[in-house]
């Protein structure tokens, strides 16, 4: 190995030095607030009850239980781990199994690369732009480099703020990773990462701020009084609609429509599906921000919708082509999970079953019947499942949200469907426009696609210098 090759390493030393300073600065304890009076026994008991009930502590006294509460904190750590599991390896396998063998690693690398990139952005500015006080469209810079994000609860009453920040990070990771499904097998790795980096600033951070960070669409508090329990608009619609635009700008795979491109491993795809389902409990029930009754509802509806949608999709296949397939059952699972996401903590089990049936029906028609009519190459159906399912879910949330299930619905129920439509429209416009601009700019500059030879050889070799499987018994 040529020692000259080591030179580029030096470019890393400067940022390291900067960061060491910044890290040390962080180590200083935060300034203490003015001392509050001690609580009396009744207040102490009330605080303990607040823990069970996931409500606020007694105001204006120095709570004896100011720290995070173990049950809620533990559940949110578990949920965060589950949502990370959705991407690594869940989504990577779900998508990776659906591409041809020569591109399996490219999907895995994209998921891994996005995880690293988004984490760095989130720590540096993303969390702050999403959750620090700002205007209706974007948050402020109070929490850049996780400043002030420590183990004390802040946003959620009984959960450490750093756990909340990581929980939200796992959402920020999976959202752009979903886009990968539409552009699989034909986009340069460098272009994927650059696209995602820009897209986070243009779409994700603003949208997450608007919906969950107290911005434009933050339920009762926002100008658009829409609700989104776990990310129907922020996660699934944003990624799904962006995926459509990006895959249109990118163009179809070489040979698309002529050569068959069957999934190289439905086994991997099914493993990924199981992991997505299990991980989704963190996504949906974790979005309650506590191990409380709302989480319990979300847990229940998530299970029902996923299972019912899966069975519905399989049944529709059986009725229309005499075969219920593994890919069908898996597609149904994911569609059910997507549709229930915005509604999970707002609706009854019965509504979840109905939503599951519709989740099996509508994306099925889209992916299986309509897509071929339009002829765009959404390789792994990110649009057909996430955009269509996310939009459907956001609508149905407007119909089925019930204040008997979740008191938070009380303030917004009137006229909710219209507000949901506004949120849907806003999300689509933002995603489509921003993606078109970013993708267009990248196409004009660095280019989006590999060479024809690289695409034919497969991205695993051309972009990553590796092969997914080496099964010959040569040595």
């Amino acid at each position: 190995m040529n020692p000259m090759r080591l030179k580029p390493l030096r470019v890393l030393l400067f940022p390291v030095a900067v960061l060491i300073g910044c890290a040390t600065a962080h180590a200083q304890p935060a300034t203490e607030p003015a001392p509050l009076p001690a609580p009396n026994l009744e207040q102490r008991v009330a605080d303990l009850e607040a823990y069970i009930n996931n409500s606020a502590r007694t105001a204006d006294v120095a709570s004896h239980v100011a720290a995070a509460g173990p049950g809620h904190n533990g559940w949110m750590m578990t949920s965060s781990a589950l949502v990370l599991f959705m991407t690594l390896p869940g989504l990577a396998l779900f998508y990776g199994g659906l591409v041809r063998k020569k591109n399996v690693l490219s999907v895995l690398a994209q998921c891994l690369g996005i995880t690293g990139l988004v984490t760095i952005l989130w720590w540096a500015v993303g969390f702050s732009l999403t959750f620090a006080p700002g205007n209706a469209f974007i948050g402020g810079l109070d929490h850049v480099f996780f400043r002030g994000v420590d183990s004390a609860p802040a946003t959620l009453p009984w959960v450490s703020q750093n756990v909340f920040a990581i929980f939200q990070l796992t959402f920020a990771i999976i959202t752009p990773a979903l886009i990968v499904g539409a552009i699989a097998e034909r986009m340069k790795f460098s272009a994927v990462l650059l696209f995602v980096g820009l897209w986070m600033f243009a779409v994700y951070f603003p949208l997450a701020h608007m919906v969950w960070g107290g911005g434009l669409m933050a339920g009762a508090a926002g100008a658009i009084k829409a609700i989104d329990f776990a990310g129907g608009t922020v996660v699934h619609m944003s990624s799904g609609w962006s995926a459509l635009v990006l895959c249109l700008i990118l163009g179809p795979r070489l040979g698309f429509g002529k050569t068959p491109m069957p999934p190289h491993s439905l086994v991997l795809c099914m493993i990924g599906t199981g992991m997505l389902w299990v991980g989704w409990y963190g996504f949906n029930a974790g979005s309650a921000g506590a191990a409380d009754g709302i989480a319990a509802s979300a847990f229940t509806t998530t299970t029902l919708a996923a299972a019912v949608a899966s069975f519905t999709w399989g049944l529709l296949e059986y009725l229309t082509k005499r075969h219920a397939s593994v890919l069908g059952f898996c597609s149904g699972v994911v569609a059910g999970l997507v549709v229930i996401t915005p509604a999970a903590g707002f609706v009854t089990p019965g509504a979840a079953v109905v939503m599951g049936i519709l989740a099996g029906l509508v994306p099925f028609i889209f992916c299986v019947k309509l897509k071929s009519v339009f002829g765009y190459d959404d390789a792994l159906d990110t649009f057909g499942i996430h955009a269509v399912g996310g939009t459907l879910g956001a609508l149905l949330t407007g119909i089925y949200a019930s204040e008997a299930v979740n008191p938070a619905v009380a303030g917004v129920k009137a006229g909710l469907l219209l507000e949901q439509l506004k949120a849907i429209g806003f999300t689509i416009v933002l995603s489509v426009v921003a993606t078109a601009i970013i993708a267009g700019a990248l196409k004009a500059t660095i280019g989006l696609r590999p060479t024809i030879e690289s695409e034919q050889e497969g991205l695993d070799l051309s972009d990553h210098g590796e092969e997914g499987y080496i099964f010959e018994a040569k040595a």
Binding site: P260, P262, K321, S325, G328, C367, V368, K371, D381
Partner: protein
């Protein structure tokens, strides 16, 4: 000597192997191949996009035999591999100039 190659249905391999053994053949080489012919393939559908598979899995058996065994070997393979359904496969006989056993450098029939 001749090179006999038989393309057969995979699940017939064990039977053909025994039949060959009965004719005194104690060496062969097999390869997984795909065959295209009169036997129809199947259609796989993945989320609406159809994928017609007309190459069917077959096993290719290659065996070198002395000239006098050509007849018996062909008969043995035909008998063992036949199901009577389309796609049972073919046998090809090719001329052969020489055989060498790598281990001993023996040549010709003693190398078999």
């Amino acid at each position: 000597m001749k090179l006999i190659r038989a393309i057969i249905k995979p699940f017939k391999l064990e039977e053909v192997k025994s039949a060959l053994a009965d004719t005194g053949i104690d060496g062969m080489t097999i390869t997984e191949v795909k065959g295209f012919g009169r036997q129809k393939g199947h259609t796989e559908i993945y989320r609406g996009s159809e994928y017609t598979v007309d190459f069917l899995p077959k096993v290719k058996i290659e065996v070198i035999v002395t000239d006098e065994k050509v007849g018996p070997v062909i008969d043995a393979v035909v008998a063992a591999a036949r199901t009577g359904k389309i796609g049972d496969g073919k046998i090809f006989v090719l001329p052969l100039d020489e055989v060498i056993r790598i281990r001993t450098d023996e040549r010709g029939e003693t190398a078999l």
